[in-house]
């Protein structure tokens, strides 16, 4: 749209950018001496783990700093011949939304909840004086249609909370592209979305990028996404740029050690050789589990709505096996896990734990059963009581079940070593540990009662990919050593492929398919499973893990 002086010159040039942090932070710079180029008509993926500075860097382009204590201290950001870091606030505002646009991670909070969608998109046009009322309205409808939203007229007058996550993100994209910017900066726009929705948004972004010849900077932590859409890749760690190059180069011939380790940590989508458990007895059997939630209704309020969180869910887990429950949000996988652990009450159905139906048991009768089945939780920050020491947290379970304080404490120290932490950790408080370490503590807590069955509810979803790899390996190691039976809930098909022996696929409260993981992945029978597998980003990408797994599979008997 706006021709530059030299068609070969990069669209955006970042040279030696440094962004400093306030003195109280744990390091001096959020971004340190980063140099990047964004060419015309290409997608540059900036990838890194949490704390890599990728988000701060992407926001620095438009001068969107979180506070006045986080400011650029060196470098240039050159766009169309001018240094954006030297631009006046008025000039920056001219460019924002107009020549350079940005979309964010959480569409629910990134949109104003009390204004209609149409009004928020219209605002961009109005601020930059792009036509009068009727002309703008027509343009908004055009934009909504261009992002494949059904019924643009209705979306126009809807409020954000009335739309789904995917629809909201499309609306944000429409808003960003309203004035046909040269550059689109996308800060983790699909991280908060389901995998199938993510696939749609990714293909939408790619399609729009090709059509308009934009330059796109796509920030993400997910290498699958990178493999799916990147033309060029930049890897960041601790605020520094570790590696930069074309997608083929970085993905298949990574130069830096960090890049190599990151790539190695991404689980392969092809399951490796799996163990056979058909000879083992069933230790956990779920039969016809039902749970529904009512909303609305009440006195004078009418009927209200009923949502089936679980409808006739049945599956079984054999001794020593790791069964994965896989699904997107709203599939009921978490509800199923909590019903099985008797944290919430199912409406009907059987839960057979080692031959005993625990569903109708009273809390008192349930207590001894709880020793046999323990749970590991998702949120490393919310799953540990911040006011208790690690030692207290781990030994509390046994103490409640009658073990003496002394032997509980001794066991705590053993467990800490088992999960790879120091014995000294017992005196410390949770906030002194990182996310990965906290998940280890949660695991130790669950193991303290020596359970036979472990129910793990998305235990690695909140962790960076390198930490995730470590925790998954630890889990597999402990599982093998102690002969644990594991029920593993996850939305990530790669993780399920690495860790699970067989999987159960859930969709809208129902089990749509189940079987050995290799079978289901290679020959999915149900349409939903097929869609789910097809939506995994970077399917075609053969990473080192894939190659290894494929090789192992072919040599297996």
């Amino acid at each position: 749209m706006n021709a530059a002086k030299n068609p070969d010159a990069p669209l955006l040039l970042i040279e030696g950018l440094s962004v400093s942090l306030p003195a109280s932070a744990d390091r001096r710079h959020a971004v340190e001496d980063v140099s990047l180029e964004l060419g015309r008509n290409q997608i540059l993926c900036v990838v890194g783990e949490s704390g890599s500075g990728k988000s701060v860097m992407s926001r620095a382009i438009l001068g969107l700093f979180p506070s006045r204590h986080v400011q650029p201290s060196a470098g240039r950001i050159v766009f169309d011949g001018e240094d954006l870091l030297q631009a006046t606030p008025e000039r920056l505002r001219e460019l924002r939304g107009n020549r350079i646009a940005m979309i964010f991670q959480e569409p629910m909070t990134a949109l104003n909840p009390v204004l209609r969608i149409g009004a928020q998109i219209d605002e961009v046009l109005e601020i930059h004086r792009a036509g009068d009322g009727p002309a703008r309205r027509a343009r908004v409808l055009e934009l909504l249609a261009a992002v494949n939203l059904p019924d643009p007229q209705q979306i126009l007058s809807a409020y954000p909370h009335q739309l789904s996550g995917g629809q909201r993100q499309r609306a944000m994209i429409a808003m960003a592209l309203a004035l046909e910017p040269d550059i689109l900066i996308a800060d983790e726009p699909t991280t908060a979305l389901d995998v199938t929705t993510q696939a749609q948004i990714l293909s939408l972004i790619r399609e729009l990028q090709r059509k308009k010849g934009m330059g796109v900077i796509f920030v993400t932590h997910d290498f699958g996404v990178v493999a799916e859409i990147a033309d060029r890749i930049a890897v960041m760690q601790h605020g520094r740029l570790v590696e930069q190059g074309s997608a083929a180069e970085v993905l298949h011939r990574p130069q830096a050690a960090y890049t190599r380790s990151l790539l190695a940590a991404v689980p392969s989508l092809t399951p490796g050789p799996k163990r056979d458990f058909s000879a083992q007895p069933v230790v956990l059997g779920v039969n016809g589990l039902n749970k529904s939630y009512r909303s609305g209704g009440g006195l004078f309020g009418g009927k209200g709505r009923s949502v089936d969180a679980l409808a006739g869910v049945s599956f079984s887990v054999r001794r020593g096996e790791t069964v994965g429950i896989v699904g997107e949000s709203g599939s009921g996988k978490s509800t199923a896990a909590r019903c099985i652990a008797r944290l919430i009450e199912a409406d009907s159905g059987q839960i057979m734990v080692e031959g005993v139906d625990i569903a109708p048991l009273t809390p008192r009768a349930l207590r001894p059963v709880r020793r046999r089945m323990q749970m590991v939780f998702q949120d490393p920050f919310g799953s540990l009581n911040p006011r208790r020491t690690v030692g207290q947290l781990i030994s509390e379970g046994p103490i409640v079940h009658g073990v003496s304080a002394a032997s509980a404490h001794a066991r705590t120290l053993e467990l800490l070593e088992l999960v790879g932490l120091e014995r000294r950790a017992a005196e410390r408080f949770p906030h002194e540990f990182s996310g990965g370490q906290r998940q280890r503590i949660g695991l130790a807590r669950a193991l303290a009662l020596e359970p036979a069955i472990l129910v793990a509810d998305e235990p690695v979803s909140a962790l960076d990919v390198s930490v995730q790899d470590q925790v998954l390996r630890l889990l597999a190691d402990i599982r093998n050593r102690l002969g644990l039976t594991v029920l593993f809930i996850t939305h990530d098909l790669r993780v399920a492929s690495q860790v699970c022996d067989s999987i159960v696929v859930m969709h809208k409260g129902r089990v749509v398919e189940s079987g050995p993981v290799a079978e289901v992945y290679a020959h999915p029978a149900h349409a939903y499973t097929q869609a789910l597998l097809a939506a995994v980003p970077g399917r075609q990408w053969g990473n080192a893990n894939e190659a290894r797994a494929a090789a192992a599979a072919t040599t297996a008997p």
């Binding site: 006045r68 349930l366 939780f377 540990l384 509390e396 409640v400 079940h401 949660g442």
Partner: protein, 275 residues
């Protein structure tokens, strides 16, 4: 704990408030020493202005204003603290049970709480004291009865949020009973909110008490700041200090408590300083 104390001390207004509060406490403690005897006793000519024979002057009947002020400090603090403690215990119990157990118990308890919040609280306090007779016990009771709903709501909200936190679910899955979970796990995490709300409640209690005694609803045997103000109403034109001075005392005390409450809030709930 240490960090909390340090954070509090860095908050200058809070430290100022604490100092003021300590002065008030001192005054209350020294009342019996500096002005022994009955503050209702007549010591001199009525309507003497301050800085004369009596430090703060005398009121309409010739009572020593300074004596009244110091003895009144006792009443004020006593009523404020005791009423707050009762209201806090009631509020924490009701709110905690409602938030933790949810369901029908929650519905019932919340409708009960809402009822109390619909009633205009000051009118209700007046009514209670009028019905039960004006004594220090009825005043404390009345203030406690109208003060507990906000605490109940707060505690209910916190307990409900905690109930759904994964560490509480972990406690359930480890086989812990309700009592242990509530007392050892949820309550310690809620304590800071309760303390902060409670401190502000003392301030409100003091304002209610002074309002009641201004209207004549105070124990006839205990001196109270509001009572002094009420007794000086008719001579506002000539001896306005009778109304002014006790009011300043109330203002400073309540302000001190509010500042301390602010400081406690910052100390116990550290948040990132915004921008």
């Amino acid at each position: 704990m240490n960090g909390g104390i340090q954070r509090f001390l860095r908050h200058r207004p809070a430290v100022g408030g604490l100092t003021l509060l300590l002065l008030v406490l001192l005054a209350a403690a020294l009342a019996g020493v500096l002005y022994p005897g009955n503050p209702f006793a007549i010591v001199g000519q009525p309507f003497q202005p301050p800085l004369g024979e009596h430090v703060l002057g005398t009121d309409a009947l010739g009572r020593d204003l300074a004596a009244g002020l110091l003895h009144g400090a006792r009443t004020t603090l006593l009523v404020g603290v005791v009423a707050t403690v009762i209201a806090t215990v009631a509020g924490v119990t009701i709110g905690g049970l409602a938030g933790y157990f949810g369901g029908r118990l929650d519905n019932l308890l919340m409708r009960f709480t809402e009822l109390f919040q619909t009633i205009p609280f000051f009118l209700f306090a007046i009514l209670l004291v009028a019905v039960l007779g004006a004594s220090i016990h009825s005043v404390i009771f009345a203030i406690a009865v109208v003060s507990w709903p906000p605490m109940a709501r707060l505690v209910r909200g916190e307990f409900m949020a905690m109930r759904n936190r994964e560490f509480v679910q972990a406690c359930v899955s480890l086989g812990m009973g309700h009592t242990r979970i509530i007392v050892l796990h949820i309550l310690p995490n809620t304590l800071s909110s309760i303390i902060v709300t409670g401190s502000v409640m003392v301030a409100t209690a003091i304002l209610i008490e002074s309002g009641l005694s201004f209207l004549g609803l105070s124990d006839a045997n205990t001196m109270s700041w509001g009572f002094i103000i009420g007794s000086g109403r008719t001579v506002l034109r000539t001896a306005w200090w009778i109304c002014a001075v006790p009011g300043v005392a109330i203002l400073l005390t309540v302000m001190a408590i509010n500042l301390v409450g602010d400081g406690l809030n910052d100390a116990l709930n550290p948040r990132l300083r915004s921008l």
